[in-house]
Symmetry: C2
Subunit: 345 residues, 2 copies
């Protein structure tokens, strides 16, 4: 099925040196995909033309005169840089020329512009950011990751609906299970918001598992883990920090002396396998959910391989009608609640 | 310096089969320590007598007729089981016979009983639970870990003071650095509570580093990381989950075939070293802070080695006057605020 991605080629730490080769690999791998390569002419036009030549009818250069910096405020990005590559890419989703936008740029700006240009779906108060994490069995989708710091029970319910639909689209699961992140000690089981959110999720029509704890994220207890953006961000970054620390210690131990270096050499195939299976680059591509359009955020430091994963994820979400599915599930929920209210009256 | 610990020998998944051998090892290693071995006569009296014989004047059996179960509610533990081993151990701290209590039992019950019997220090609204985590450089002390789900800025400030004093005592650092856990994106930098807490910490007289993110916990950016109990609990448990998942995958890869098994054999010294250096048992012993007495919580599933660490930690905290230090730092802060109010008036 044909799909067109609008790529913010300027975004991220490496800009076009990563986004353009990733676009080339993506076009090579996905023969029914098209790309709009958005950016400043002097930076990308010549390579974009080359891509257009190599993939006739499937790649096109789209000019944008400005670039949003990593430290631009969302307000600055919205009001001042109206012809930024990020903005132009999202505009193309709005106009229907593209079915999804991908950017490795400033998250706050991407969220603000997406929300302003595309608007949220009916029944969704705030968009959320969802990522994929490796788990002992399969993968876990966690949201929100920092877009929403103070969440109401209704927000958490909406995250549950959006997350479940994301899994249904990306993993082809019919009724993904949803867990609500909470803490373990009985007497202090969660604050008021979480308790109320559990009630809402229980009667939402979703496959609600109940409360889960931090360790369940990596156990793979549920397909989706819902939490507020502060907790999600802290958990995600702490996990990255821990993984880096452990990898560093392994490296240290394996380079300690001639014997450990010899062992490291023999262990190379094993280490490579572990690295490949746990490679965070494979999980690159966080979805901005709840919008009237597909927007995928790549890690700012993504390399070509990682950026290609984000492109593939965006194409898949667009092809499987992520937005329509979230919208339909939300309508279903609202109808259910409406019927309940009518029934109660 | 002499110190006496009151040990709840019945608490934890393994009860006396862990607590008593750990007490023996502890007495052997620390020649000026004494222990009160609290528990039911039929379960521990004979072994306690043997210890009293082996370490004359340093071990004594103290009878308690009840045991708090892992699923007892704090209310049940407080009101019904008034002669529980946990309660009797804490009573001995209150009476001054012991300088610290250690238990591997039900956290909620331990917190409730400690608070009821020992009371909080002046200026401390709520006790907090602090643990030690391994970091790339040194160790990080994180609090709160689940005792307080909804925190005010003042609570976070108090956690900062308590955490800093814990580090000063256990690591002999004069001015430990304190970080406030926050999230990274600029435009959404924390909620109102965290922003106000930062203001309070900045003018607290502590060595306040500023905001830190989840990955800083394992980088060791600051000695102390302060957060509310919901976030702390989620981060701690997610980290445990991730470490378990990675260890599981390593095991899987190393037992895949004869070659990997051969590599694993050669790598044994390296793996042992890594395991030893990252052994969570070494970090066992979470301090309940802000009370008029030292209480240390061991992990429920602790083995003899892990439980001994908790005992050592409790002895050190008591010897270095943890309670007095927290109290003095709090007085200092209150005087500072009082002077400011006077100055402003």
């Amino acid at each position: 099925m044909q799909v067109t991605l609008a790529i913010d080629c300027m975004g991220g730490d490496h800009g076009p040196t990563v986004t353009l080769p990733a676009a080339r690999n993506f076009l090579r791998a996905d023969s029914s995909a098209c790309v709009l390569l958005v950016g400043r002419g002097e930076a990308i036009a010549s390579e974009a033309e080359r891509l257009a030549g190599d993939f006739p009818g499937r790649a096109r250069f789209v000019a944008a005169s400005e670039v949003i910096a990593m430290d631009d405020s969302p307000a600055m990005a919205m009001r001042v840089k109206k012809d930024s590559s990020m903005r132009v890419a999202i505009d193309r989703v709005k106009s229907g020329e593209a079915q999804a936008a991908v950017s490795a740029g400033n998250t706050g700006a991407l969220m603000a512009i997406s929300r302003f240009v595309l608007k949220t779906l009916p029944g969704i108060d705030r968009p959320a950011i969802a990522t994929i994490l490796p788990a002992r069995t399969g993968r876990t989708y966690m949201l929100d990751l920092g877009a929403n710091v103070d969440c109401s029970p209704e927000h958490l319910l909406q995250f549950g609906i959006m997350g479940a639909m994301l899994v249904s689209v990306l993993e082809q699961k019919d009724t993904p299970s949803v867990g609500l992140l909470n803490i373990g000690e009985e007497e202090i089981k969660g604050n008021g918001v979480v308790k109320q959110a559990a009630e809402l999720l229980r009667s939402s029509g979703l496959n609600f598992f109940g409360n889960v704890e931090g360790n369940d994220v990596f156990k793979g207890t549920t397909d989706v883990v819902v939490c507020d953006g502060f907790v999600g961000n802290a958990v995600l970054k702490a996990s990255e920090g821990l993984a880096q620390m452990l990898a560093g210690r392994l490296r240290e131990e394996l380079t300690r002396n001639w014997y450990t270096k010899f062992v490291a050499m023999l262990a190379l195939p094993v280490l490579r396998r572990i690295k490949r299976n746990n490679d965070p680059r494979r999980y690159n591509g966080a979805a901005l959910l709840g919008l009237r359009g597909v927007v995928v955020k790549s890690h700012g430091s993504a390399d070509v391989f990682a950026y290609e994963q984000a492109l593939m994820r965006a194409a898949e979400a667009a092809r499987h009608d992520l937005v329509k599915r979230i919208s339909a599930q939300m309508d279903d929920y609202l109808a259910r609640v409406g019927a309940e209210i009518k029934g109660a009256a």
